[in-house]
């Protein structure tokens, strides 16, 4: 028995040294369908997981997905618990003070979602006296804090640890709108939100200073080697058509950066 365990151990060591690849720990979310989410069996799924795995293969690194709350991603990156963040994180000037970003990976237009016929639109005046739900540490939260603070706009903002909770509160009527990326909003609407009477409210809201040019992969400040590897890998999936193929399976519109 002892011998068997010993030889098994030697075999394992041999295998692991044979594939001594660089390990990259990528921080992501567990509840951000359809980009990254855990299915019923607990397996991590989604568009960014698929493309991410493909990019890791092209970079010849072993990727380890680590899931956490959105607000924990940058602190974890800085604390060296993870090496990169792939979680639909918008590349903003604010975040660039703390981390470095790869080239733009996806575009992410932002939209309000509300009950059909509620009169809520992209015009701030239609939200006066109403409560809007946003995800914690998101650009959407930052938009309301900086552009439409409650004291002057009369709009109440509720901050949720995960977007899933915000959808639940929208359905129960505790909040009258959710402000999120149109991608995840589209997914929620398609999976039942529409049937429950909800829809996109008004037009997409644009504010480049707050929302950035799109989402990208964040790495630690000064980690130029990993950033360069990701830049190359992103360019690869954008150019060889893989991104577009996967994109089509998830959304009826393109989120390829222009």
């Amino acid at each position: 028995m002892k011998k068997l365990v010993f030889s098994a151990l030697t075999a394992l060591t041999l295998i692991s040294t044979a594939h001594a690849q660089q390990v990259v720990r990528i921080g992501t979310l567990a509840d951000y369908a359809p980009f990254e989410y855990k299915d019923a069996s607990g397996k991590l799924q989604g568009m960014e997981i698929e493309i991410g795995n493909k990019m890791c293969a092209s970079m010849k690194v072993t990727c380890q997905w680590v899931t956490m709350d959105f607000d924990a991603l940058i602190p974890a990156l800085k604390a060296r618990q993870i090496d990169a963040v792939l979680a639909q994180m918008s590349r903003t000037a604010e975040r660039e003070k703390s981390v470095d970003f790869s080239r733009i990976f996806t575009t992410a237009p932002v939209h309000l979602v509300a009950k059909k016929g509620s009169g809520i639109s992209h015009q701030p005046a239609t939200l006066r006296g109403k409560t809007v739900g946003v995800q914690t540490a998101s650009t959407h939260e930052s938009y309301f804090r900086n552009r439409l603070p409650t004291s002057s706009s009369g709009i109440n903002v509720k901050v949720y640890q995960s977007l899933d909770s915000a959808w639940l509160d929208l359905e129960s009527g505790r909040i009258q709108a959710v402000f999120a990326d149109s991608t995840v909003a589209h997914d929620w609407l398609a999976k039942g939100g529409q049937q429950a009477g909800f829809a996109f409210a008004g037009q997409a809201i644009s504010d480049d200073a707050i929302f950035g040019a799109g989402t990208a992969i964040a790495v630690r400040k000064g980690d130029s080697q990993l950033k360069a590897q990701f830049d190359l890998a992103i360019l690869g999936v954008h150019q060889n058509g893989y991104f577009q193929t996967v994109n089509k399976r998830y959304f009826p519109f393109s989120i390829l950066p222009q």
Binding site: P75, K158, V159, L168, E171, S172, R174
Partner: protein
């Protein structure tokens, strides 16, 4: 240290708001929880099963499940039923603060009731017999002799529950209540540092120290007849 000072000078209004919400949750849940715990403990100690059983079920339900689960069930779980949203119950669970207060109160009541029940068991039989000998009815013995004595006996444990409850209030932040923890999380997210959380931790320590001083004073008052 400089960082902490500058954080404090910038964010103290927000932290103070959060602290106030935390203290409101603590004080209200302790007062309401205690008021609920006394009848629960008396019912639980009753020799009649139909009185003891409901109280026993309530206590094991709330002591047997994590507070976080209770908060989530009350906040997100109940909100899924339309009849709840249309009923008066929605006044309680429709908003985050009253919902958190409800969960904290029920949870604390279950724990305090168990403590007071222990106190009831510890009331010397002689005192009850003496009261009966004076011609007191069973109801009078219970409310004038047993309950006050039981509260005195269980005072140290009750005081401990209050300090524990202070830390439980932090769970309210999980359902969007901006208590001290909620505010500290907001601030630490904006700065990508844990300084605000550290500051919140210090504030909790100060409150806990004040609370244990107060509860010790309360104990001394309750059991003053035993002081030598």
């Amino acid at each position: 240290m400089d960082q902490l000072v500058s954080l404090l000078s910038q964010s103290w209004p927000a932290l103070l708001d959060g602290l106030w919400i935390s203290l409101q949750l603590l004080l209200l849940s302790c007062v309401l929880g205690f008021a609920l715990a006394v009848p629960l403990a008396v019912a639980r100690s009753s020799p009649r099963r139909w009185i003891a059983l409901p109280s026993r079920l309530f206590m094991s339900a709330f002591r047997g499940t994590p507070l976080l689960v209770q908060i989530f069930i009350l906040y997100y779980g109940l909100a899924q039923f339309e009849w709840v949203r249309d009923s008066a119950l929605w006044l309680l669970v429709g908003d985050a603060f009253p919902c958190a207060l409800l969960a904290l109160t029920l949870n604390l009541a279950a724990y305090m009731a168990e403590d007071i029940r222990g106190g009831i068991l510890g009331v010397p039989a002689g005192e009850k017999e003496a009261a009966t000998a004076f011609g007191m009815s069973r109801l009078m013995v219970t409310w004038y002799i047993v309950v006050p004595r039981a509260i005195g006996i269980s005072a140290p444990t009750l005081g401990n529950e209050i300090v524990l409850q202070l830390k439980s209030t932090a769970l309210a932040s999980t359902i969007t209540v901006l208590d001290l923890t909620g505010v500290a999380r907001r601030l630490s997210i904006e700065s990508y540092t844990t300084d605000a959380l550290l500051l919140a931790g210090l504030l909790y320590i100060v409150i806990a120290a004040v609370l244990s001083l107060l509860t010790r004073y309360g104990e001394a008052c309750l059991n003053r007849h035993q002081l030598r």
